[in-house]
Symmetry: C2
Subunit: 407 residues, 2 copies
Amino acid sequence: MEKIKGGVTAAKGYEAAATAAGIKYTDRTDMAMIYSQVPCIAAGTFTTNVVKAAPVRWDMQVVKSGANVQAVIVNSGIANACTGEEGFGYCRETARAAAAALNISENGVLIGSTGVIGKQLPIDKVSAGIMALAEKKKPSLENGTGAAKAIMTTDTCEKEIAVTIQVGGQTVTIGGMAKGSGMIHPNMCTMLAFLTTDAVIAKETLQKALSEDVGDTYNMISVDGDTSTNDTVLLLANGMAENPEIVYETEDYQKFKEALHVINEYLAKKIAGDGEGATALFEVKAIGCESVEQAKTLAKSIVCSNLTKTAIAGHDANWGRILCAMGYSGAQFNPEKVDLFFESKAGRLQIIENGTAVDYSEEKATKILSESEVTAIADVKMGDKEATAWGCDLTHGYIDINADYRS
Amino acid sequence: MEKIKGGVTAAKGYEAAATAAGIKYTDRTDMAMIYSQVPCIAAGTFTTNVVKAAPVRWDMQVVKSGANVQAVIVNSGIANACTGEEGFGYCRETARAAAAALNISENGVLIGSTGVIGKQLPIDKVSAGIMALAEKKKPSLENGTGAAKAIMTTDTCEKEIAVTIQVGGQTVTIGGMAKGSGMIHPNMCTMLAFLTTDAVIAKETLQKALSEDVGDTYNMISVDGDTSTNDTVLLLANGMAENPEIVYETEDYQKFKEALHVINEYLAKKIAGDGEGATALFEVKAIGCESVEQAKTLAKSIVCSNLTKTAIAGHDANWGRILCAMGYSGAQFNPEKVDLFFESKAGRLQIIENGTAVDYSEEKATKILSESEVTAIADVKMGDKEATAWGCDLTHGYIDINADYRS
């Protein structure tokens, strides 16, 4: 596996574009297009929220139908959530406009939206934006980066990555971009990720690879515990790498999944570390667990605790809060066996042994916790399973961004 | 039912005291005693956290044993949680010291602690404090208030209440005090509530009344979603009202339960509204539900959402966040049927009808949301069951209190 430059246009046959459609923002790009020169198969995973935004419902339908996909249209500024039948109609109009502009099938257009809930899309601006995108699209890496920028809300940086693997003598590329949970219109905490690959792979296998990995990556991050109405991960495969087909549970499949995991973990961590108001990426590893499920439950409970997150913001080795969050997670364990460590670039320090504090240096702990990436490792000594979750610290910035976003 | 002055000493035969034992604070009272002139039966409900503080484990044992109880010793400053066998030993020593000072049985002493996790109690100071408390105890209302003040951490005010009911021609009194989730040592979010009554009632009936009501009151409040290691509600009954015994599921039992509910709801709401950094009590009613369980799930999900809570802090009618929180609650409902209202002293306003926004006045919404008690009412139109949850807004104050509590 090799990490290469680029994002959604790194794989063969993909083009991208960005444009300033003026949907809500007036001083930046706010629409992006991903286009494949040939039809793709598509896999997707979507929010579990009962309240699903119109584009989520649209995409679920497209992915489920098995239709070949050739374009993804994304806008920032308005989420098209809680917009009723009118909002869903705008998805259809968006797909129709893209189909006409690109001369592809209407059923082959996927859609992503992020922004404020409850507002209707200005469909004329969207349609004009699509015309502009169709003209601007190029296979260049720059255009990929442009697309990654256009889908940002209050993300502080674009998030993209690409890797290659060798399959049967052919180079297979996977690239992706994502936007996270720094938002000007933070109804959403919307996480959107768009992945492209030139691999030859069956639709069912592609979906399995994506579904299996999402549980270990995007589903292990938390910024504030609020599950968005718009969360979407889409993965397109256009087969242009001309590799021998990647078949489920073969060695090539493992290789493909590992590459996909690198992409997903990278984007998920970028999203977590760029959470609203965040000053640090907070990584939590639960180790020595009986089962992966137990490990996930423990790691997520710690990473989601407001008290733990404010402690990280304060560079405070507040281990009691971590033990407390493990305790109410719902997972069973013996608190009197727990070991806890903090780790960062500045070093590693044991804080708890068998449930009670060791005589550690507060000064060293504060030093470790002052880095921009901080890891807590909790060992419950019940087995050899483990899981990692990612979040961020909870700061004044989060309150500022969220307390009064519409004024 | 009549609301009267006082708290834990309002009922017949109860005395209280407070003293400055210097356990952690040096400029205030930090220990309290509740004493009954005659042995009591005791009911209790405790944290569901796997990590249970030593006093919780002690009290569970005492309540389960059925032993008569005659005193409760509470300290603030140190939680005696994650303190291993040494910490549990200090519970035994506390009980022993109280038993000796009061000439009662060691097994009849209940204990409550709140404060920092992981520190051992300075048992000599605790023992000296108990001697002082035993000398100071009085049945006066002032001493009840003194006790309510001594158990505070960063609560901004003491919390106490008392009511009377008539049972078979006798006046039965229930009083209580609680401390909540404004904390200088906020490992805990510890909620402690101590209730006293002079009712004649069997232990099993008392426990049923308490257990039934806790689910509708204390278990429906959330300050930050972190379930403490120390949460405890204790209810003592000493029979001194000489009423005919209150028997389960009779009219008198209903009367007693209603009075208990008034006490518990009052204290629960006081705790929620006095949450760390809170500027407003946030009440959420889920109505039109199929089941009480569904209603509770929806109400709690809304009241626990960081995004909803920051919106309340910003006086922002951000209904999308509320719908979103309902959507990920796990409860099933049709988002396109939901009506939503905001209500406070400043009026009542419909915001959503059938899942989409009505044309409401933002100005009026902001006015309603600027009050110190704000209610959101969500109607899912599936039945006639409802539930209420209480929380508070999420402000800069919360971050300030929690980010660096030990410096």
